[in-house]
Subunit: 249 residues, 2 copies
Amino acid sequence: MNSAKRQREPASDKVGTICRALRRAIIEQALEPGTKLPEDALGERFGVSRTIARQALGQLAAEGLVELRRNRIAVVETPSWQEARNTFDVRMELERLVVRQLAGQLSKAQLAELQAHVDQEDAARNGPDAVSIRLATEFHILLAQMTNSPILIRYVSEVAYRCCLTLSTFSRPHSSDCGITEHRAIIDALAKGRTEDVMTMMHHHLDSVANRALVAPTKPRTRDLVDILAPYADDGEAAPHKPKRSAAA
Amino acid sequence: MNSAKRQREPASDKVGTICRALRRAIIEQALEPGTKLPEDALGERFGVSRTIARQALGQLAAEGLVELRRNRIAVVETPSWQEARNTFDVRMELERLVVRQLAGQLSKAQLAELQAHVDQEDAARNGPDAVSIRLATEFHILLAQMTNSPILIRYVSEVAYRCCLTLSTFSRPHSSDCGITEHRAIIDALAKGRTEDVMTMMHHHLDSVANRALVAPTKPRTRDLVDILAPYADDGEAAPHKPKRSAAA
DNA sequence: GCCTTTTAAAGTGCATACATAATAGGCCGG
DNA sequence: CCGGCCTATTATGTATGCACTTTAAAAGGC
């Protein structure tokens, strides 16, 4: 018997459960950027104490999905346009590495799994945007997982999730068609082992996704008026958000 | 009267303090891979409760520096050869991106800062290996920081630290000379804005570091007899020490 | 004497308690 | 009617306690 251990861990992995639930809720935009995540509420909802909820929030903060400020309620991260741009840049390099490692290396079964996933995407094309976006994201994560490189898997997952957040923040209506055909083209190129081609394709694919998402540095789809006011404040005055109590003077 | 000052910041970031301390101890090889890190001991050493120590360990685990198994004492991660290889692969792509973004963009002050850092490396050349390794690592992190891309900074820092871990595990005696000259060459190319050149140089630099570190997939420099026995155990028997009562041969 | 079984020590998993900082709403003066 | 201080509420930061698991050691049998 091989020394490889099975990785099952249902051993009451409460923190992991909460993280997965929140991640999914975030990428499906059930939790929009800026949504508050009080420890008590999370704990109660998942039937655990604040201790566990807090650990989950810490984890998600480390992944860049949650913003954690001292003595303040945790909120879903609201990536700035520049951060989104940076994330996409990193993502491109990482995913180029993924397909470079994968080109010509995939088994029949793996290729079939990828095809099946894109079929799912196809089926969900007329469903809600949230599901389409999630499936599209999971396609990229699935690719990463096939590299068997834990660090690549982790990083690609993280940037992919963060890009979803970006979509929540900046995107215009999602059109998934082109994305799906590009996914199919990538699978095909991977199967044929055309390394250079598939790297280029992945690059263009992510570039188009980024361009669709990051049409302009503006467009903070209003949810918090501070967001709207930020640029104006920057322009006109030195102290944008002024503290109310400067009374002592 | 309670308001008064707006304390800028470091409001008792206990977790961060412990993380930094442990990170540094790890990259200076004061804590070798496999070293146990009991929560109690950490808490006592840093004057905090287990709760805080535990959070720090969770954070470091998320960064891949610490291995956290359920109901077991946390230990400094022992990267496998394959994981180390994967880490270096990712690192190369990320750092190529760093220098691509930086080429021709650095201010005089930034270039001076880089030069100063390499001077430090030079000064430490005859000192202990641990310091040389730390400084060499911090050079790469310093570069990443100049991109102003939080995610790039975080990822480069993480992979750089993990590569240090790898050195702890696999390396032969450290020779820092070539590394330093390469660092200087990279600064020069960055200043001159030779984007392609500097990307190639960074690639070769990291490649040589990797090759020096990962000479062969074997050579677990003994620190724990379990490590020595592992390959033999795999070959001959399923369980090296204490086979529980799993009769399954 | 060596291997197995028993048992105590040590450590983690988790919840809860308490102190402190932030926030929202009420009260009062203008 | 509005704006600012004050307080009650809320939420976080941290420590501690208890139950359960693992680990190490001691005891006992072959």
